[in-house]
């Protein structure tokens, strides 16, 4: 699964196939960097600080660290 990083700095990524669109990560993100529609989720690159809190909060392991920033 690939996802272009707009800033080239994004180190985390959401695996859309695993995401249940539950909003847990949105509720904890300190930077308001996650956009969640009915069944569509994305990270707002320029807000994300790669703090990893969303990774720890996702109940279904749908968010991963991605050291290259692009390849998941």
């Amino acid at each position: 699964m690939y996802r272009e990083s707009r800033t080239g700095k994004l180190l985390i990524d959401i695996l859309p196939g695993k995401c249940d669109f539950c909003g847990c990560c949105v509720g904890i993100c300190p930077e308001d960097a996650i956009e969640l529609k009915e069944a569509e989720i994305s990270i707002i690159d320029h807000r994300c600080t790669n703090c990893a809190k969303c990774i720890w909060s996702c109940p279904v392991e749908a968010i991963k660290f991605n050291k290259e920033g692009i390849l998941v």
Binding site: D20, C22, G23, C24, V26, G27, I28, C29, P30, D32, E35, L36, K37, E38, K53, C54, W56, S57, C58, P59, V60, E61
Partner: protein, 321 residues
């Protein structure tokens, strides 16, 4: 549809529907916006509620009662069971129908409802909330209102857009997974809770019976525990051990903000209600009835504030809720 409303409610969960109903009851114009296609679905909830918590807001109806609860069973890590009997004191809801009925009760009082409307920003006038921006059928739109009620659940962002710091510390988020499974041979009047750090560290497993030997089975762990292992990991091990061959009818993820209610839940032009205001019982994680209470107060105060033409009246919400 009108281009201006007295009150716009964001989110059509129990908190939003009660806010819309209690505002509409005051005779002001109300619109409730919901991003999902259906009100009440998907159900991210164990669906347990006390009798008292529900009776205040809606007349009992068998069509949204999945089972009647009179007993609690607490199961310790070594398997010892303690049974506590209460008499009929609560219900497992069928929330898909329940939430729908709540929304209908708001509509019956005059509230308008629009689904598939994703709110993605606020209109501000001189730093006062004056309406919402939303996406509907691929188009970006705006609607003015005198008061916005944010009942947008655990993922609430409305408060933040208005300048309140409303995100939940990840350590206080109960990160949940739940399945609704069938062939679960448990007593249909008992709520089962399993404890233990290998079962659900810092939380508990619930098995809440629904009709016909199906049950909601799930757990929540804090984001701190999630650093080590996910809720999904614990669910899979629990199911394998206890109900290995149970057919799974639904599986959902979800979050419960298990903190005390936010310090500030109203500012000029906007109030928050339900999970958005963290109106959740931090011990049990129950938020349906507290959300309905918070929503009803928010709606009533919003309606009063408009009728009296006193915008500051909504700031009294913090004192009563």
């Amino acid at each position: 549809m009108k281009d201006k409303f007295d009150v716009i409610v964001v989110g059509a969960g129990p908190a939003g529907s009660m806010a819309a109903r209690f505002a509409a009851e005051q005779g002001v114009s109300v619109l409730m916006l919901e991003k999902d296609r259906d009100v009440g679905y998907p159900v991210r909830c164990g669906e347990a509620i006390s009798k008292k918590g529900v009776e205040e807001f809606i007349q009992l109806d068998e069509k949204w009662i999945a089972s009647k609860i009179s007993k609690f069973s607490l199961i310790s890590p070594d398997g010892t069971e303690s049974l506590i009997e209460f008499g009929e004191s609560g219900y497992i809801l069928d929330r898909k129908i329940f939430d729908y009925e709540l929304a209908k009760s708001a509509a019956n009082c005059g509230a308008q409802i629009l689904t598939r409307a994703y709110v993605n920003g606020l209109l501000l006038e001189d730093n006062v909330v004056a309406g919402v921006k939303y996406e509907y059928q691929g188009e970006q739109k705006e609607l003015k209102s005198k008061i916005v009620i944010g009942a947008d659940g655990v993922e609430s962002r409305i408060g933040r857009w208005a300048g309140l710091e409303t995100f939940t510390d990840f350590r206080n988020m109960e990160c949940c997974v739940q399945v609704t499974a069938s062939n679960i041979k448990v007593d249909s009047n008992t709520l089962y809770f399993y404890f233990g750090k290998n079962v659900a560290p810092g939380g508990y497993f619930w098995v809440f019976p629904k009709s016909g030997y199906s049950a909601n089975i799930g757990l929540g762990i804090s984001g701190m525990e999630g650093k080590k292992r996910s809720a999904l990991y614990y669910l899979n091990s629990f199911m394998e051990k206890n109900f290995p061959d149970a057919p799974i009818l639904t599986s959902v993820a979800g979050g419960v903000p298990s903190t005390i209610t936010l310090k500030r839940i109203s500012i000029p032009g906007m109030v928050l209600a339900g999970d958005a205001a963290r109106q959740v019982n931090p011990l049990s994680g129950g938020g349906i009835s507290s959300g309905m209470i918070g929503g009803s107060i928010a709606g009533r105060i919003a309606g009063e504030s408009i009728k009296m033409n006193k915008p500051d009246h909504i700031l009294t919400y913090e004192k009563v809720s």
